[in-house]
């Protein structure tokens, strides 16, 4: 290299650089997929990117603030309404407390396990990654708020997804519509157990491997069964939309619509189950098939 004048020194040729960096990328992809050994790297880069994400979010949050200012005018009416609701619910709550006490008493009599109390944390959607290969969202809560991988994310209607990746101030949620995600469910009407999985497209879920003669109808409500220990039992997941019986296959093709506004909400709740052991794998929990 000494003989080459300064001006013409350009380092390795583009071909060599491309070869080197392609190999490095492919190596990284293999390391990320097969060995899942790059969480620390991802977390470090994610933490560095957090201020940029905040800046990107600034216009939306400004808009929100202006909106809340306008909303304030409407709030008085809402406060009155809520006050009435409060008294109504207060009365119901007192009844519920009595029932709960009675319930614990009866449970103790039956020496059944006490149902665990589920805590929840409010979170906001920070942004949606622009990768069409995966159904993910990023929330504004992270390990500094005590969030752990494996916690369940819901909205006021039902299940949205599960936390799969933790950064210091943000967390990644795999939606139930993600292709690699499965939720153990139960038909609310008759208790039939199965596993529902996303198909990667927008607002659709699929109930796979149910035999043609399974007792299932259009509009059946599917709730989490609690099997697998990640999702607490009884949360609404989806409603059956369409059942196609094709005689040439062993299984019927059942499509469902998620109950929660999986792709609509700005605010969500993160549930934490104190007794469950969170799974850190990116895949959901495909454990139980039909009975």
């Amino acid at each position: 290299m000494e003989s080459v004048p300064q001006f013409f020194r350009t380092g390795p040729s583009p071909q060599a650089r491309l070869f080197f960096f392609s190999l490095l990328s492919i190596f990284l992809m293999i390391a990320d997929l097969r060995f899942e050994s790059l969480h620390k790297v991802r977390q470090a880069i994610g933490a560095m990117l957090y201020p940029l994400q905040k800046i990107a979010l600034a216009p939306t949050s400004l808009y929100d603030q202006v909106e809340t200012l306008i909303e304030d005018l409407r709030l008085t009416k809402e406060i009155n309404y809520l006050r009435q609701q409060y008294f109504l619910f207060q009365q119901q709550l007192s009844r519920l407390q009595i029932l709960e006490e009675e319930n614990t008493h009866l449970r103790r009599l039956l020496s059944a396990a006490k149902q665990t109390e589920v805590k929840s944390i409010m979170a906001e959607i920070l942004y949606i990654p622009r990768d069409p290969f995966r159904r993910r969202i990023i929330l504004n809560r992270g390990s500094s708020d005590g969030i752990e991988a494996g916690q369940v994310v819901v909205d006021d209607l039902g299940v949205i997804g599960q936390i799969t990746q933790i950064f210091p101030w943000s967390a990644e949620v795999t939606l139930i519509t993600d292709k690699n995600h499965a939720v153990p469910i139960q038909v609310a009407r008759n208790g039939l157990r199965s596993v529902i999985s996303g198909i990667g497209s927008n607002n659709e879920l699929e109930l796979r491997y149910l035999p043609i003669n399974a007792d299932i109808q259009v509009n059946d409500l599917l709730v989490t069964s609690g099997i697998g220990g990640i999702y607490p039992p009884g949360l609404p997941v989806a409603r059956i939309d369409k059942i196609e019986h094709d005689r040439s296959y062993n299984f019927s093709r059942i499509t469902c619509i998620p109950i929660a506004g999986v792709e609509r909400n700005r605010h969500v709740l993160i549930l934490s189950m104190p007794l469950s052991e969170p799974e850190s794998t990116t895949k959901g929990n495909a454990i139980e098939s039909k009975s």
């Binding site: 650089r17 790297v41 940029l52 949606i128 069409p132």
Partner: protein, 172 residues
């Protein structure tokens, strides 16, 4: 050779601080929270900015910078680490190979050529995503390279400011 090439001003070397700031701004624009259709139509600003610097300043922004920003985009998109890096490296390679030819054209004539480079880049992302088997994307996944090519003249105009000489060389 296009006629107006000879009348073009000789571009100055861009400041490296300007290059870094432009890439960070592109990254922020890429992070804007958008809804369904806008999300699909949004061009990849980081890719476009990288392309511009690859074509105009290949000695300052090369395949290695493309790799670094690819990794950052992978973290942002929570895709497989290395997927965007591979695609961006490929894109920079094409841009660097073709940069002597591309700068002959005006920015509007560059747009269709940018389209093919962006399409090939997305194809790399698509193929690596499919080989990994995580998702099969619909055809409109490729629409963002069309919008990218459409927005190219604007980006080239904004980023080109840094290369204009501050004073008129003929003034004296």
């Amino acid at each position: 050779m296009p006629k107006d090439y000879l009348e073009k001003e000789l571009p100055l070397q861009a400041k490296s601080s300007f290059i870094i700031i432009s890439l960070v701004v592109a990254l922020i624009i890429n992070l804007f929270p958008l809804q369904e259709i806008m999300l699909l139509l949004r061009p990849d600003f980081v890719a476009l900015t990288l392309l511009f610097w690859n074509i105009n300043q290949p000695h300052q922004v090369g395949i290695s910078s493309a790799f670094v920003f690819g990794i950052i985009m992978d973290v942002c998109n929570s895709s497989i680490l290395g997927q965007h890096a591979l695609a961006y490296c490929f894109m920079s390679f094409l841009a660097i190979i073709l940069h002597r030819r591309l700068i002959l054209f005006s920015i509007f004539q560059q747009a269709p050529q940018i389209f093919w480079i962006l399409l090939l880049t997305q194809l790399v992302i698509y193929i690596s995503g499919t080989l990994v088997g995580s998702y099969h994307a619909d055809w409109f996944f490729f629409l963002s390279s069309v919008t990218g090519a459409l927005i190219w003249p604007i980006i080239a105009l904004i980023l080109g400011i840094s290369q204009k000489p501050e004073t008129d060389p003929n003034a004296l």
